[in-house]
């Protein structure tokens, strides 16, 4: 494959977006579908070729310098793309799952008037995501970062005539912006430290860093390398919390369910929200020098995983449950990158993309059949009416709860195993805390997923009794089957073999520098602390077996409780619990009042401040005082001067003569 054709992965969807956006209304529904699907399929083909190339071809990495953008100071900024095994995997997931979701959308959005706009935005999203993944320096990644944020805003607020939906889009954009600010500051910090934004150059520079060295000049003069890098990595992580919906910037994701369901599947489950994980994995060789940052990532991830899972307990909107589930699963991925199990986090990213997309599309199928209703309390017994949806949804639920032999089990367990097995010399409590929180989150995941499944598909219909739900057409059920098949089949990459899982070995080259750096840093720290260097975690099955068993038990316990409360003898007990502890139930149902807290602490003061700026500074001081005031002042002064114009020419001559004499005086003296 010609390395100079990487840019087609970005250009094809971009051109598709342009055609659909500009001409979509005129070329008709069929042509719009053709253009959109064709563009994504083309991008997928190129991505697959790139993946093949870095896996079996000669080079481990393909680079393409698209064009030189600008140079600032001594830092050149190029529009350069590169593909290694990590980004190839991700871009194939993006374009592949993206293609399936485009296919799904052709039927799902068939009744919508703004279909051409929808497909244009969707293509735009894929183009931006490709830019993010393929970028070979921080700034190109940031361009893609912003681009997906834009596409997300456009798609969440797709039905913009509805105020609430428009506000949801705005909320997503604003919260993301806060994260982006952190990201930018992180980029600036890295430029200040290393003088470059190129990933390859950063990797080279990072290979020879001494953690305790004190920096001499520049912005971070007097700081140790570790301290400066910790700051930079934490700032970048703030960006990741925004884009990947972790504490404290996750609040936009549940609201983002206002957009069309395929959008939620693509953007808020499979691809965009994983950008934060990708970014940290990309910069893994830097993060290992900042153990504080890594610990923060892991703990925040674990806390988010649990917190979001708890919020999902009492949700009754099918999409909201899945949204909180996504936040929770992303937390798992961050645990992975935080404890140094990068391959496990990426593996979970891939499997999560498959089964979460399948779940979301399944929810879309359910909504399609139930006249866009989302309240699961009204569902029930859909198994009989929508068999395909039931089956694929069930397979994906088994995957997400982590039951052998589906891929979700292997990916989640790889993370949990690494969480407690990877040694942490600096924060010895991190392994335990993250493992325990991870287990609680896994238990909760199992519970709320099976709760939702039972309420939706099993049992008897509770509401909309006269409505017969029809199964969706092949354009919708096809992708569902493909995705659930992938959720099953992806397990083969995660099987724990003696030399490490296939996926781990596949990505070994990508994370080798990070692991080398980590070993060096650990040795230095061990020498300083006077302890023995902890051994690298092994791959023997004996060590991993207990963890597997615990995880399996946890998943089954969750299944059991859900069965008991919603299908078995305990029916109605859930309502009893709600009555007995109304405060607790309200807290769960209202998402622990986080949104209300943000509203009163952040939004309201900002709005008040904005009002002050608007009314006092802008309307009064600038508009009335300065602008109008200048005009009024000119008027007054002019009024004053007009008395000089009395028409008496002789008077004018007198003034001239006096002035001339004065000037003469000045010149002669």
């Amino acid at each position: 494959m010609n390395p100079q054709s990487l840019h087609w992965i970005i250009l094809l969807p971009l051109i598709g977006a342009a055609i659909n956006g500009l001409l979509g209304k005129r070329i008709g529904r069929g042509n719009v579908h053709l253009v959109a699907l064709g563009a994504i399929f083309g991008a997928f083909v190129v991505s697959a070729a790139a993946l093949w190339n870095v896996s079996f071809g000669g080079a481990e990495k393909i680079s393409q310098l698209w064009w030189h953008w600008f140079t600032i100071g001594s830092v050149p900024v190029e529009m350069a793309l590169s593909v290694d095994r990590l980004s190839a995997t991700l871009i194939c997931v993006v374009t592949g799952v993206g293609f399936l979701i485009h296919l799904f959308s052709t039927e799902y959005m068939s009744h919508d008037e703004g279909y051409w706009r929808y497909f244009a935005y969707l293509n735009l999203f894929v183009a931006a995501m490709a830019t993010l993944v393929l970028g070979s320096n921080l700034l190109v990644m940031f361009v893609g970062w912003e681009g997906v944020g834009l596409a997300s805003y456009l798609l969440i607020g797709f039905w913009y005539t509805d105020e609430e939906k428009a506000y949801a889009g705005r909320k997503a954009f604003v919260v993301n912006r806060i994260g982006d600010f952190g990201f930018l500051l992180g980029i600036f910090a890295l430029v200040a430290l290393f003088g470059t934004i190129d990933f390859a150059e950063l990797q080279t520079a990072a290979a020879t860093l001494i953690p305790s060295a004190v920096l001499q000049g520049g912005v971070f003069a007097g700081w140790t390398v570790t301290a400066a890098l910790t700051l930079a990595c934490l700032l970048l992580f703030v960006g990741a919390t925004g884009k990947s919906a972790q504490i404290p910037l996750y609040v936009w994701l549940p609201d983002a369910m206002a957009g069309p369901t395929p959008v939620s599947a693509l953007i808020h489950a499979a691809t965009m929200v994983t950008a934060g994980v990708y970014m940290i994995a990309r910069l893994s060789f830097l993060y290992v020098y900042a153990p504080g940052a890594m610990a923060t990532v892991a703990v925040v991830g674990a806390a988010t995983a649990v917190f979001a899972a708890l919020m999902a307990y009492a949700q009754n909107d099918i999409k909201k449950v899945l949204a909180y589930s996504t936040v929770s699963q992303l937390g798992f991925m961050f645990i992975g990158v935080g404890v140094g199990a990068w391959w496990a986090a990426i593996y979970h990213l891939v499997t999560h993309a498959f089964f979460k997309a399948c779940l979301f599309l399944g929810a879309g199928s359910v909504m399609h059949g139930m006249k866009d209703q989302t309240d699961i309390r009204l569902f029930g017994g859909l198994r009989k009416e929508m068999w395909h949806t039931w089956a694929t949804f069930g397979i994906s639920t088994i995957a997400i709860t982590g039951v052998i032999p589906l891929s979700g089990f292997f990916s989640k367990d790889a993370i949990l195993h690494a969480a407690h097995a990877n040694p942490n010399l600096w924060f010895s409590w991190v392994p335990t805390v993250t493992y325990v929180l991870g287990l609680i989150a896994a238990l909760s995941t199992s519970f709320y997923m099976w709760r939702m499944f039972n309420l939706t598909f099993n049992g008897e219909r509770r509401g909309m009794k006269e409505h017969h739900a029809h199964e969706s057409g092949p354009a919708m059920t096809g992708p569902l089957w493909i995705l659930s098949g992938l959720a099953v089949g992806a397990a083969v990459w995660g099987l724990p073999l003696a030399s490490g899982a296939r996926f781990e070995r596949f990505l070994h080259g990508v994370f080798a520098p990070a692991e080398a750096n980590l070993r060096r840093v650990t040795e230095l720290a061990a020498r300083e602390l006077g302890v023995a260097v902890p051994p690298a975690p092994g791959h023997d099955l004996a060590a991993m077996l207990p963890g597997y068993l615990i995880a399996l038990v946890v998943a089954l316990v969750g299944f059991g409780i859900a069965w008991y409360l919603y299908l078995g003898p305990g029916k109605g007990k859930s309502a009893l619990i709600a009555e007995k502890a109304p405060g607790l139930h309200a807290a769960f149902a209202n998402k622990f009042y986080v949104d209300e807290f943000y509203d009163s602490v952040v939004v309201r003061p900002l709005k008040g401040f904005a009002r002050v700026l608007w009314q006092v500074v802008d309307s009064f001081a600038i508009d009335r005082l300065l602008v109008n005031g200048t005009a009024v002042l000119s008027g007054w002064v002019a009024q004053l001067f007009r008395y000089f114009q009395d028409g008496n020419v002789q008077r004018y001559a007198v003034v001239m003569a006096v002035s001339a004499v004065a000037v003469l005086w000045v010149f002669l003296f």
Binding site: R642, Y643, Q645, D646, G647, N648, V649, Q650, A653, A657
Partner: protein, 102 residues
């Protein structure tokens, strides 16, 4: 047997100029204003000729020649305008010709 110094000629010229200026600024009849202008031009002529004599150069004479010609033309036009104004306003008082006021 002393010749008159240049300074005296110039002092005379500037005195005439000052009188002409005063006539322009102080008198209210347009006719006298024009006369003041002519007087100022003559004072300039005297200055030119004094310097010409002091430097032995005749260019001053040529310039004085042109000043006279231009002054003649300007006086003709000015008086024609004064006649035209008199026809509509029935006065030559400059104070009363103030239509271009605010």
């Amino acid at each position: 047997m002393a010749t008159v110094p240049l300074a005296h000629y110039l002092a005379l010229a500037s005195a005439l100029f000052a009188v002409g200026l005063a006539a322009v600024l102080v008198r209210r009849s347009a006719l006298v204003v024009f006369m003041g202008v002519e007087l100022m031009l003559n004072a300039a002529n005297l200055t030119f000729l004094s310097f010409s004599r002091a430097h032995g150069a005749q260019e001053g004479h040529a310039i004085a020649f042109f000043v006279i010609a231009v002054a003649a033309a300007e006086a003709a036009i000015g008086l024609a305008i004064m006649i035209a104004v008199f026809r509509s306003r029935k006065t030559v008082n400059v104070d009363e010709v103030d239509a271009l006021k605010y």
